[in-house]
């Protein structure tokens, strides 16, 4: 195993600030003043969204608080036609400074790791006193505490709760305004203080719980770090559950599943329909979240926090192409090149290169709707290769391609392998798997039942040291031949398999020394009066690979080629038949 790294489960600072900024805008919109939210968005959300976080964290909230309140006041007085108040510069300035301080308080609460109730009071009261009207203390306290509560909610990422809080805040504002309009000013202030106290308490409690949650998440992350390898991709004891919406039940869909592949390795997932190949690809692509186990891509855990980082490393060509039919081919690729942040000056070259490789140059300006099925599949493949991914996930990549283009796609995959790109292919095409893969994972019912490694001698794992001899129809009886051949030096297993033509005999034997054994086998067969007319490597049939019994008679190859079994596959009937 390679080096290990810690994968911190931290919430993005940007997301935190955007949520807080948006929240602030919502609150100021909810209060009053058309200019206030604009000032807020301009000064607070903009820097938070577009960088310069230090500025956003310290200076912007204070500045925007002052400007927002000034704007809000001016907006209110304009709407109400209160010219006298608007001309009172001292009043307006004091208003702005007072509520600006409240905004600074909100920023302090959002930035602080451990705000306390005392901090709330210390910040709120002087800020309130800065205002020229004493009753503003109550209003200020109300706004500050509600902002704090909503801010903490935003930091926790509970947007649903946040929306509810916002609505509560708006409704409370209405109630308070109505109370004041009806002449119950003192009652309104009391209600404001009471709800503010409740909101403040909730804010502090929620914040403490947030800290506790963060601590738990970090310790879980530290526990998990052991299995994450920076030089490989893989899954470790992964279990996925499929949510059966119709039956309201959950059944085990995948796993427990464990495998890993090093950089530059090609892994083929083989198995019958429903074996879990596509699901495994989805797990690796981060599209399905396993309920247990670990998944990682070159040192980065595949989880919600790292989704963008992981996706930048992965190219996915799923079975469904998912193309926009109205777009032109070149525009489509440019669109995804932008999303994958490929520099503008590289895009054209990259797109041209891929289109040439996949023989799509002629369709550059065509709309996708007019392309053939094969061309669409090529385009989906081009999309997956566009950003030169470190991990390429292919689901039946050549299923709809003509043999010539399929061959060029295979060549492209081989070239990627040479560039240290890891490839995972789910396929039913054994030739393709044999040609490309270094390792084969044979899956059934969501589990890996067998692993085969490609031989370092160049022998295919799916041929695995077995040979077959086709014998012309003969009057001789079959049984004696098996005993005779089994007695030859180097022949380890021998059996008959049904031939294609009537009367044809297919003799399968395995050996680790074909140079010595094969001539001897042929000589023996000729000596017995048989007419061998074909001698080839014996490849497992697709039925043998996918059969529930796992009828893989590759024990010779396995020992030599490092094959191991998973899931305790019993000795197969085919093996039992051997001499």
């Amino acid at each position: 195993m390679g080096r290990t790294v810690v994968v911190p489960a931290k919430r993005s600072a940007l997301a935190r600030y955007v949520s807080a900024g948006t929240l602030g805008a919502v609150f100021y919109l909810a209060q009053a003043g058309a200019l206030a939210p604009l000032a807020y968005v301009g000064l607070s959300v903009w820097p938070e969204l577009f960088g310069q976080r230090r500025f956003a964290r310290v200076v912007a909230p204070v500045l925007c608080g002052v400007f927002a309140e000034l704007g809000r006041y001016l907006g209110l007085s304009t709407l109400s036609g209160d010219e006298r108040s608007r001309q009172n510069v001292t009043f307006v300035f004091a208003y702005g400074v007072g509520f600006g301080a409240a905004e600074a308080f909100r920023a302090a609460v959002l930035s602080s790791r451990s705000p306390s109730w005392l901090t709330l009071a210390l910040l709120a009261v002087p800020a309130g006193l800065a205002g020229p009207i004493p009753t503003w203390v109550g209003t200020l306290f109300f706004e500050a505490n509600w902002s704090a509560l909503a801010g903490v909610g935003a930091v926790r990422g509970r947007w649903g709760i946040l929306a509810a809080l916002t609505l509560c805040h708006v409704l409370l504002n209405f109630v308070l305004v109505a109370l004041m309009s009806a002449g119950f000013g003192f009652g309104a202030q009391c209600a404001s203080l009471a709800t503010a106290t409740v909101a403040g308490s909730l804010a502090v409690n929620l914040w403490r719980r947030r800290l506790a949650l963060t601590a738990t998440s970090e310790s879980a992350s530290e526990q998990a770090e052991g299995a994450v390898d920076v030089d490989s991709i893989g899954v470790e004891k992964v279990v996925c559950l499929y949510d059966h919406a119709a039956s309201h039940s959950k059944g085990e869909l995948l796993g427990p599943l464990s495998f890993r592949a090093k950089a530059g390795q090609v892994l083929a997932l083989l198995g019958p329909n429903g074996a879990g190949k596509t699901t495994t690809l989805r797990v690796l692509a981060g599209l399905l979240r396993p309920v247990g186990g670990q998944t990682w891509v070159f040192g980065t855990a595949i989880d919600q926090e790292n989704a963008c980082r992981v996706n930048a490393l992965i190219g996915l060509a799923a079975e469904e192409t998912g193309l926009y039919p109205k777009m032109r081919v070149c525009r489509y690729l440019e669109f995804f090149a932008s999303l994958y942040h490929i520099p503008r000056w590289q895009r054209d070259d990259r797109i041209t290169e891929l289109l040439r490789l996949l023989e799509l140059e002629q369709g550059l300006d065509l709309r996708i709707a007019t392309l053939s099925k094969g061309a669409r599949q090529k385009l989906a493949l081009a999309r997956a290769l566009l950003h030169q991914p470190r991990l390429l996930l292919l689901d039946e990549p050549t299923a709809a391609l003509d043999p010539r283009v399929a061959c060029s796609v295979r060549r492209a995959i081989a070239a990627l392998k040479a560039n240290e790109c890891t490839v995972v292919i789910a396929t039913h095409d054994l030739d393709e798997a044999q040609e490309l893969a270094d390792e084969f994972l044979i899956m059934r019912r969501g589990q890996i039942v067998r692993r085969l490694h490609q031989s370092h001698h160049g022998q295919g794992a799916l041929t695995a040291g077995s040979f077959e001899v086709r014998l012309a129809p003969s009057a001789h009886e079959a049984p004696p031949i098996l005993e005779t051949l089994a007695g030859l030096d180097g022949v380890e297993q021998v059996r008959f398999e049904p031939g294609v033509d009537r009367g044809e005999l297919v003799l399968v034997f395995s050996t680790t020394t074909p140079q010595m054994t094969n001539p001897a086998v042929l000589k023996a067969l000729l000596g017995m009066g048989f007419k061998p007319y074909v001698l080839t490597r014996h490849r497992l049939s697709i039925e043998q690979i996918y059969s529930p019994e796992g009828a893989l008679d590759t024990s010779v190859g396995e020992s030599a080629l490092g094959c191991d079994t998973a899931g305790g596959i019993p000795d197969t009937p085919a093996r039992a038949k051997t001499c």
């Binding site: 948006t22 919109l29 058309a34 577009f50 960088g51 709407l79 989704a307 998912g322």
Partner: protein, 241 residues
């Protein structure tokens, strides 16, 4: 100088693509153009020739604007249903685009189209009144124009937030289409009621300034709720359930 973050750039790229996609649909372009240009001119002409009270004109303006919002948001959000049918969401989810950018990429075309259409429609409506019966424009105080604009913007944001959050949870594209239409209709009705209350009811008039500001707040809250529900993992669940 501030540099655009990846999120903002991704959002822009997705929004631009969505708008181009909408522009490619000739039938949609005809409907949008007809509703944006034809309808307000016709209603303006009708109001002017009927010699209605000037104080009722803001209400007509509100209806013109909200009708545009309804048409624009529904047509823009129909892309969600089409997306489900064509399976085009998967490549986007598999790309390094944040959930926020994905959501805004869906929501902003609807909001922008609605806001643009309603602004043009209101302008044309006022222009027709100015040409045919200038006295009727006296009903449009700055505060009422603000209230009408706030209602339109708020309705657009609410339609986008609500439609996307509901549509993301459904598998059937037909159900998504129906839900989008019904939710947009509900939102537009609510905004009409609030706007008319702010214009004609004494209590509503007293709270008109707060109402003007509260409506966009409600819209933003709906958008925020939509963003919260628009999560990769949940989207994927809805794709393959």
């Amino acid at each position: 100088m501030l540099t655009m973050s990846a999120d903002a750039r991704d959002t822009f790229v997705i929004v631009w693509r969505e708008l181009c996609d909408l522009a490619c649909d000739k039938a949609l372009v005809i409907v949008v153009a007809g509703s944006t240009f034809g309808l307000p001119l016709y209603l303006g002409y009708l109001a002017a020739t009927q010699h209605l009270a000037a104080s009722h004109m803001p209400a007509w303006g509100l209806e013109v604007v909200l009708l545009e919002v309804f048409i624009a948001s529904t047509t823009a959000l129909q892309g969600l249903a089409v997306e489900r049918e064509q399976g085009t969401l998967l490549p986007l989810i598999a790309s390094p685009v944040s959930d926020l950018a994905l959501f805004l990429g869906r929501a902003l075309p609807a909001v922008l189209l609605s806001a643009g259409q309603s602004a043009v429609a209101l302008g044309l409506f006022l222009m027709m009144l100015a040409v045919r019966e200038p006295a009727m424009l006296s009903g449009f105080k700055p505060a009422t124009v603000l209230l009408v604009s706030a209602s339109a913007l708020s309705a657009a944001m609410m339609c986008a937030g609500l439609g996307i959050s509901l549509g993301s949870r459904m598998r059937s594209s037909r159900a998504i289409g129906l839900t989008l239409t019904l939710s947009s209709l509900g939102v537009v009705s609510l905004e009409s009621a609030l706007g008319l209350w702010g214009m004609f009811d004494p209590v509503g008039r007293a709270l008109a300034s707060d109402l003007t500001m509260t409506q966009p707040a409600l819209g933003l809250a709906a958008l925020a709720a939509g963003a919260a529900l628009y999560r990769r993992a949940k989207l994927v669940q809805s794709l393959w359930r």
